[in-house]
């Protein structure tokens, strides 16, 4: 199968890559670009482990071909870190609230949560449950994830009012 030369914009950087047309975006990110923070869970669009942001919206990178992502801005869990490599407030809140156990669904949960907070800076617990309802977690029962997102929202609101 002839490979296709494409350029993907991942976390603000243009990354030229040669992929078979049938390669999914998640396989391209993981196997070609070696960005392994994004995980594969079900490969049929249910579990949300492979969630990345495409132009700010959470999408399933297992349901998209890499070639379809050219020309869009892709954000992965690695792109949520601050520019100096330190944790974002959301990542830090996940740590503070122990919003994970095995850590496998966590990158997808972070992407879904960040997308929510970008749209809604003051979400209710129900809003958060709605936003992460497309991401399955077998460890936590979701509660500490909800608490971590609430903590982040509070931090951001307080940061905004202080600044």
């Amino acid at each position: 199968m002839t490979a296709v030369e494409i350029t993907l914009n991942v976390n603000g950087h243009d990354r030229p890559v040669s992929v078979p047309p049938r390669m999914t975006l998640v396989d391209c990110l993981r196997d070609m670009l070696r960005m392994t923070g994004t995980h594969v869970g079900c490969e049929h669009g249910i579990c949300g482990a492979c969630s990345v942001m495409l132009d700010g919206e959470p999408i399933r990178s297992c349901l998209m071909f890499a070639v379809q992502a050219e020309g869009h801005k892709i954000t992965t869990v690695e792109g949520l870190l601050q520019s100096d490599g330190s944790l974002s407030d959301l990542q830090d809140s996940f740590w503070e609230c122990h919003a994970l156990q095995c850590g496998y669904c966590t990158p997808g949960m972070l992407v879904a949560s960040e997308s929510l907070l970008n749209e809604n800076p003051d979400p209710t617990a129900d809003d958060i449950r709605e936003a992460i309802s497309g991401n399955l977690c077998r460890c936590t029962g979701y509660q500490q994830i909800v608490e971590a997102v609430q903590m982040t929202a509070k931090r951001r609101r307080e940061g905004a009012s202080n600044g």
Binding site: P20, R22, M23, R30, R34, T36, G37, T38, H39, V40, G41, C42, E43, H44, I46, C47, A49, T76, V77, E78, L80, L81, L87, Q91, D92, F94, W95, E96, C97, H98, L100, Q101, C102, G103, Y104, C105, T106, P107, L110, A125, I128, R129, E130, I132, S133, G134, N135, L136, C137, R138, C139, T140, G141, Y142, Q143, Q144, I145, V146
Partner: protein
């Protein structure tokens, strides 16, 4: 989270709110899962599943697959069976042969028949479609109850029957006890075939190095005796197998037992000369991964008096382990350790039956059979209450072991170590505001809705010694299940602890660093915990059976205390006083009554490593200690009455959910969920809380949604997440967790197990709530999962 810190030792780190050691790498996207392991030159495996539940393999033509560019090899079952030994079973069933690929016959739909090795997974999958297999389809054995009949198709013809194990035990005077009380209830409770279904599938990478004669294995594994079984199957010495335990495991809860996957890729790399990787896709995982859970029918009779005090019970448990049993039948054995739940029964009869069928194989699932058993026992307690018209909370209170009765020996021999069950029960009534909850239920009913409040009181045994293996197979004369740790202090004073297994979310690095930090009065954040590979590791039996806080935790205390003792010896010698004159605190060793005469932590480390002239004569250089921990209270085989202690520690939990059922669709909504929980000393409260709530979520799934359903021909009907329903954040309510602490006398800091916690009681509690909601219609459903369509059908029957 610990409700009475004033009554506990004043710990610095233990039981305190502290961030975990592991979470940082996961929120950064820097976990190292097996699919992240990139071994240069590795090739990729895809497998071909059988479409038939039971069929003879007439022929396999691999030529077209082999001819596809990018394909390196196509392996069939005959070749693999020739080159490897069969896989391990817990039972003594020598004629039930298990290989990673089907040999001669396929025994379930989804069983792997051939494996392709190619440059990429994409090409390997293309090639599987080019393999031509000629099958002779045969009728399948599907209905587990029929396996006791002789005329069923045989899953393993050489074994001669589909019954793999059948034995009855009697502990205590069952007949006398039945004769001594006026009432009995008999009932059936059925646990559906579900599993833990982690979001990460199983995966393994193997690399054989024929110069150094070593098999490197990276796997998402949670399994005792993994390296032993790899070596045995491949016919190589165990010291030629190196399992890398620093692979993060993306969830397991018992099921990541990929021995057949591992033997498959290990054989391939050994014969092909390059590294080989196999990562299950979701269909591989659900249909062919041999990772289903218990599928169990309980028939129980309870005998009780006018007051609802249960004296005895007879239990028959029939479990369908699928086509290849592995260790699964032993899941009928572990619950013997808490067979009567937290209740004061005087005798028990237990018949355990394990049958094979043409279904995907079963593996150990969270609690190792305890959650189905708890559900079955709780169903009986509800029956007793209903029969006598006594409140179901009151019936439980009358039967629970009382706090002044510990250690409490149950008929099969286990001793419940400690607890205050009545305090936890009283606590949950208060936390849940029980009367108000009943009022809310009734208000919902007044609005024309169906609503119910549930209750369950259950035990979580922790730290098993695995003597149940011997009860099921006397050839497995095992009386311990060790765990070890090595702690070393570097010349500069930095502390490193080596644990010996993988971790799948339980927070073992936090466990070890917190306890070592507590014992040594050093900041746990500065203590590094590494996962030694299987060649470097001390004896381990892996993180199963809610055992790591108990066994690894106690080992950590012992090793740390030994290091402290060594440092005191060095300080006493150097300062010229007796050992008992040295006081230790906050990293300083000083002479009692003369605090100016002291040595600091780094000074002693420097002496121990580099200053032989200042060391006590004959004292070992360096600062290191290891502890190999026996299961507390274990070590003997069963006595002449087949009584034996199986687990040392028993955590207790009380669950109270409020549910509403849509009368038109049967859909259940869980409104509120309260749990009272006592696991002794919680090492890290956030970790305990997370596992409890996560366990509840897992239990809600098993109670209401999750089932590996089969049709009557043996075809799996749930091979995707569209058919096998995992609960999302919508289905799981906020859970209110109130923690109690009755320290265990069996462990170093009073800790008990907590990893299986919520899962062991939630299915019983949800069933209780649903049946409370259905009680006005005189409907009782004792078969899990209770799906919306089951409720709808039952309501339709009653109201049509």
């Amino acid at each position: 989270m610990v409700d009475a810190p004033a009554t506990l030792p004043n710990y610095r780190y233990v039981s305190r709110k502290r961030r975990t050691k592991e979470d940082r790498r996961f929120v950064s996207g820097r976990g190292k899962f097996v699919a992240d392991v990139d071994v240069p030159g590795m090739k990729h495996v895809a497998v071909l599943p059988s479409p038939h539940p039971r069929a003879n393999i007439v022929s396999i033509d691999t030529s077209a697959a082999e001819a596809l560019p990018g394909v390196h090899y196509v392996l069939t079952g005959d070749e693999l069976a020739e080159g490897t030994n069969g896989l391990f079973h817990g039972l003594d069933i020598p004629n039930v042969i298990w290989h990673p690929l089907a040999v001669g016959m396929t025994r379930y739909a989804g069983e792997w028949v051939a494996a392709v090795v190619a440059d990429s997974r994409y090409i390997a999958e293309d090639a599987t479609e080019l393999i031509e297999v000629d099958y002779e389809s045969l009728p399948a054995a599907v209905d587990s109850e029929k396996m006791l009949d002789e005329d069923q198709p045989l899953v393993h013809p050489a074994h001669g029957t589909n019954v793999l194990f059948r034995k009855t035990w009697e502990w205590g005077p069952v007949a006398d006890d039945f004769a001594s009380v006026p009432h009995t209830v008999s009932y059936r409770a059925r646990w559906g075939r579900s599993s833990t279904v982690p979001i990460e599938t199983f995966g393994v990478v193997a690399k054989w190095d024929d110069v150094n004669e070593i098999m490197d294995v990276w796997a998402s594994i949670q399994m005792p005796q993994y390296q032993d079984q790899i070596a045995s199957a491949l016919r190589i010495p165990m010291n030629q197998v190196r399992v890398h335990n620093d692979v993060d495991v993306g969830g397991s809860y018992g099921v990541k037992r990929g021995i057949k996957h591992t033997v498959l890729v290990s054989y391939l790399t050994k014969n092909l000369g390059f590294p080989v990787r196999f990562i299950e896709d979701r269909l591989d995982n659900m249909s062919g991964g041999d990772a289903h859970g218990p599928d169990r029918i309980f028939d129980i009779t309870m005998a009780f008096d006018d007051e609802g005090v249960i004296k005895s019970m007879k239990v028959r448990a029939l479990d369908d382990v699928g086509a290849y049993p592995g260790r699964a039948p032993l899941q009928l054995g572990k619950p013997i350790t808490a067979l009567c739940g937290p209740y004061r029964l005087n005798s028990i009869e237990y018949e355990a039956i394990s049958v094979t069928s043409n279904k995907t194989g079963q593996v150990p699932v969270r609690g190792f059979g305890q959650s189905p058993t708890n559900f079955a026992v709780e169903t009986g307690v509800e029956r007793v209450a209903k029969y006598l018209g006594i409140d179901r909370v009151e019936v439980r209170a009358r039967n629970l072991v009382r706090k002044d009765e510990f250690p409490w020996k149950i008929p099969p021999g286990s001793k419940y170590d400690s607890g205050d069950f009545h305090a936890v029960l009283a606590g949950i009534l208060e936390t849940s505001n029980w009367d108000n909850l009943i009022a809310r239920r009734d208000a919902l009913r007044d609005e024309g809705k169906l609503a119910g409040v549930g209750i369950a009181t259950c035990l979580e045994p922790g730290g098993g010694n695995n003597i149940f293996e011997y009860l099921f197979n006397p050839k497995l004369e095992i009386t311990t299940f060790v765990e070890s740790v090595l702690i070393k202090v570097e010349p500069t004073g930095a502390i490193t602890a080596v644990m010996c297994t993988t971790t799948s979310g339980q927070g073992h690095e936090t466990l070890v660093s917190t306890i070592a930090g507590e014992e040594l009065e050093r900041d746990p954040d500065t203590i590094r915990v590494v996962h030694g590979d299987s060649l470097e590791a001390l004896p381990t039996r892996s993180p199963v059976a809610s055992r790591m806080a108990i066994v690894l935790g106690t080992a950590t205390s012992k090793a740390a205390r030994d290091i402290k003792a060594k440092m005191i010896t060095i300080a006493a010698h150097d300062l010229g006083v007796e050992r008992d004159q040295i006081e230790y605190g906050d990293g300083e060793f000083s002479v009692r009554g003369n605090p100016a005469s002291k040595l600091t932590w780094p000074e002693i480390c420097h002496i121990a490593h580099k200053q032989f002239h200042r060391m006590p004569p004959g004292h070992e250089l360096g600062l290191q200690s290891y502890a190999v921990q026996q299961v507390p209270g274990a070590g003997s085989l069963p006595d002449e009455n087949n009584e034996v202690p199986l687990y040392p520690c028993f955590s207790f939990q009380a669950h109270v959910p409020l549910v509403e059922i849509d009368p038109d669709t049967g859909k259940v909504k869980v409104h509120d969920y309260f749990i009272g929980h006592d696991c002794g000393t919680a090492i890290n409260p956030d970790i305990v809380r997370g596992m409890i709530i996560g366990g509840v979520a897992h239990g809600i799934g098993a109670a209401l949604y999750e089932k590996f359903a089969y049709d009557s021909d043996g075809q799996l009907l749930a091979g995707t997440f569209v058919d096998y329903l995992l609960p999302s954040a919508h289905e799981i309510p906020p859970v209110t967790d109130s923690e109690h602490c009755t320290p265990s006398p069996m462990t170093s800091l009073g800790q008990k197990g907590s990893g299986e916690g919520g899962y062991l009681g939630a299915p019983a509690a949800i069933a209780s709530a649903v049946n409370d909601a259905l009680a006005p219609f005189d409907i009782e459903i004792n078969e899990l999962p209770i799906r919306a369509r089951d409720i709808e059908a039952a309501l339709y029957e009653k109201t049509k």
